[in-house]
Amino acid sequence: MLEPILQITDLKTHFRDSRTGADIRACDGVTLHLNPGEIVGLVGESGCGKSTLGRTIVGLERARSGSIMFKGQDVLALKGREGAATRREIQYIFQDPLSSLSPRQTVGEALNEALIINGEGNSAARRARTLELLEEVSLPSQLVDRYAREMSGGQRQRVCIARALAADPKVLVCDEPVSSLDVSIRAQIMNLFLKLRDDMGMACLLIAHDLSIVRLAAQRVYVMYLGQIMEEGQSASLYRKPAHPYTQALLSAVPLTNPDEEQSRRRILLRGEVPSPINPPSGCRFRTRCPAKQSECETMPPLMPFEPGHGARCHFTGKVDIVANAAVP
């Protein structure tokens, strides 16, 4: 068995509601791992805690409890200079590119700085590497002298990718890294990630809402809902036979490019409000919106194995298909 490069166990990150002081349980007991040279997808509804999880991994939010083991150390316990050095091997690509770029730095200056931090002492080498990075993310070289405000949204997003790659990360946590790119440049960037995975053994946690991209890029996928993992498995198995009703609904909602097929396809539209992470439902967190819920669902289901390496947090794992309208036994 391969030793994971990143092992997250029962991680909880909560916020305080500024008005009432109540606990916002954004990330509420997540266990997941990344193997070296593996791209793992993290998908789930807007607001379910994906960015909170990603930000906690790189130390931008403080965990309440749990552990994040990286190369035999718990990064949550790391401090000072040693912590910074270890953390540098885990890079994060922000969901909001504009707010993570300094308005006072040109593209070239930002990349140069990242290369200095990474220990590249030779300025000619840094300049050469800067141009190489721009080319890798399909940006024309004349953008080196531009400021963030002087670029398009997708150009900024690619600068953030280039900056993260400048650190030669062992683990890349990317939060919607290609969402503002056209599909052709998206393909180039995804192929770059696949190449870094295969050539450098880079591991990557890919947070993305585009399920078709995750399917092609990720060997394994985690599906998150209201702060918890609902289903996990090999992509091949999970996409072919989604076991959790939430995953089934999610996959049925993927829109199709052909307008005729898009009008006529069968899809599950989830009814009901998304519950608040301040007061999540008892038992199964999805039960308030699940078309297949039963009285059993009032108790929290464990992760139930389904196929090898594939399991779901549903009492009826393997017995429910809400899309085909199959009755629950």
Binding site: S46, D96, Q155, S212, R215, P255, P259, S276
Partner: protein
């Protein structure tokens, strides 16, 4: 002029040149189209091809300090936005024309509560009392799928997730009940279920209130589910313009074809690589002589590199359709 037939938005030979201390670029170069009431136009195309500048420059919504020179005309209900005074433009924005920004954070003030930011505009543009405006704000937040709106209104932008902020931006864009909505990539941070809900909401506004919508997007699922017409941009120019069915099912321009072939689906074999167009986008700082796509085009002939192609009508299309490619248009004939 007959107001029942006049399109609320008419863009005519519109060109934008940006001047910086060191260089000039032309991100929008001779673009023309119109959008009828109750019609949805999707603007798609290459990242950096000018989609945001095309839609934001006429409304004076480019970042401060950008020196933009504009030519041609962009008429809102017959009045040219390029000739309007600052105060006239301000009245149009948020009133007749609603805007959803590509970067939701830049549209929101980080140190003010979500609720106040929304109610203010509503009070001003709809002439409501503060209480009415607050109720309307809560309604809007529910419409965009944010439950418990009263407590959301008490939060600051950084306390929201990316997709939640984006939906506040959408609520803001439609809050003034505009007749034209310009939405710049409004669904990039939304999962498929919330996205489906937003698409339904926009369709409803378009049908019920006759809103004209221009939506910039990279998501062809959104295009096929929402739009009537598609405009495809490459290097500041329109390369194809036509009905959704014509353009998505039988694309004419080689760039549109390459783009659509790059869309991954849930049915392609799993061990394939991602398919993209080979080659790099052009350098916009130089004046491009022939077709901007020619260096990457498998159909290109010698004169494609010399003569700038004009938009030609594509024969045998279900509805009117234009493509800037004489080579392909000949093949359709």
């Amino acid at each position: 002029m007959n107001s029942t037939t006049m399109p609320p938005l008419e863009v005519d030979d519109f060109t934008v040149t940006l001047h910086t201390p060191t260089l000039s670029v032309r991100p929008v170069d001779g673009v023309s189209y119109s959008v009828q009431a109750g019609e949805v136009l999707a603007v798609v195309g290459e990242s950096g091809s000018g989609k945001t500048i095309l839609n934001m420059a006429p409304l004076d919504l480019l970042p401060v300090g950008v020196d933009a020179e504009m030519k041609g005309s962009v008429r809102f209900e017959g009045r040219d936005l390029l000739n309007m005074s600052t105060s006239e433009l301000e009245a149009v924005r948020g009133g007749g024309i609603g805007v959803v920004f590509q970067d939701p954070l830049s549209a929101l003030n980080p140190v003010r509560k979500i609720g106040r930011q929304l109610t203010e505009g509503i009070e001003r543009h709809l002439g409501l009392t503060p209480t009415q405006a607050e109720n309307r704000t809560a309604e809007l937040l529910t419409l965009v799928g944010l439950p418990d709106p009263k407590s959301r209104m008490q939060q600051y932008p950084h306390e929201l997730s990316g997709g939640q902020r984006q939906r506040v931006g959408i609520a803001m864009g439609i809050s003034g009940e505009p007749r034209v909505l310009i939405a710049d990539e409004p669904t990039t941070a939304l999962d498929v279920t919330v996205q489906a809900q937003i698409v339904e909401l926009l369709k409803d506004l378009q049908k019920r209130m006759g809103m004209a919508i221009v939506i910039i997007t990279h998501d062809f699922g959104v295009v096929s589910g929402l739009a009537d017409k598609v405009a495809v941009m490459y290097a500041g120019r329109l390369s194809e313009l036509g009905s959704v069915r014509d353009v998505l099912i039988d694309p004419a321009h080689p760039y549109t074809r390459g783009l659509l072939q790059s869309v991954p689906s849930l049915t392609v074999p799993m061990d394939t690589k991602f398919l993209g167009l080979p080659g790099q986008p052009p350098n916009m700082a130089y004046r491009i002589e022939g077709c901007a796509f020619a260096p990457r085009c498998i159909e290109a002939r010698a004169d494609c590199h010399v003569n700038r192609p004009s938009l030609l009508s594509v024969p045998h299309s279900a509805s009117d359709r234009l493509a800037a490619c004489p080579v392909i248009v000949n093949q359709f004939a």
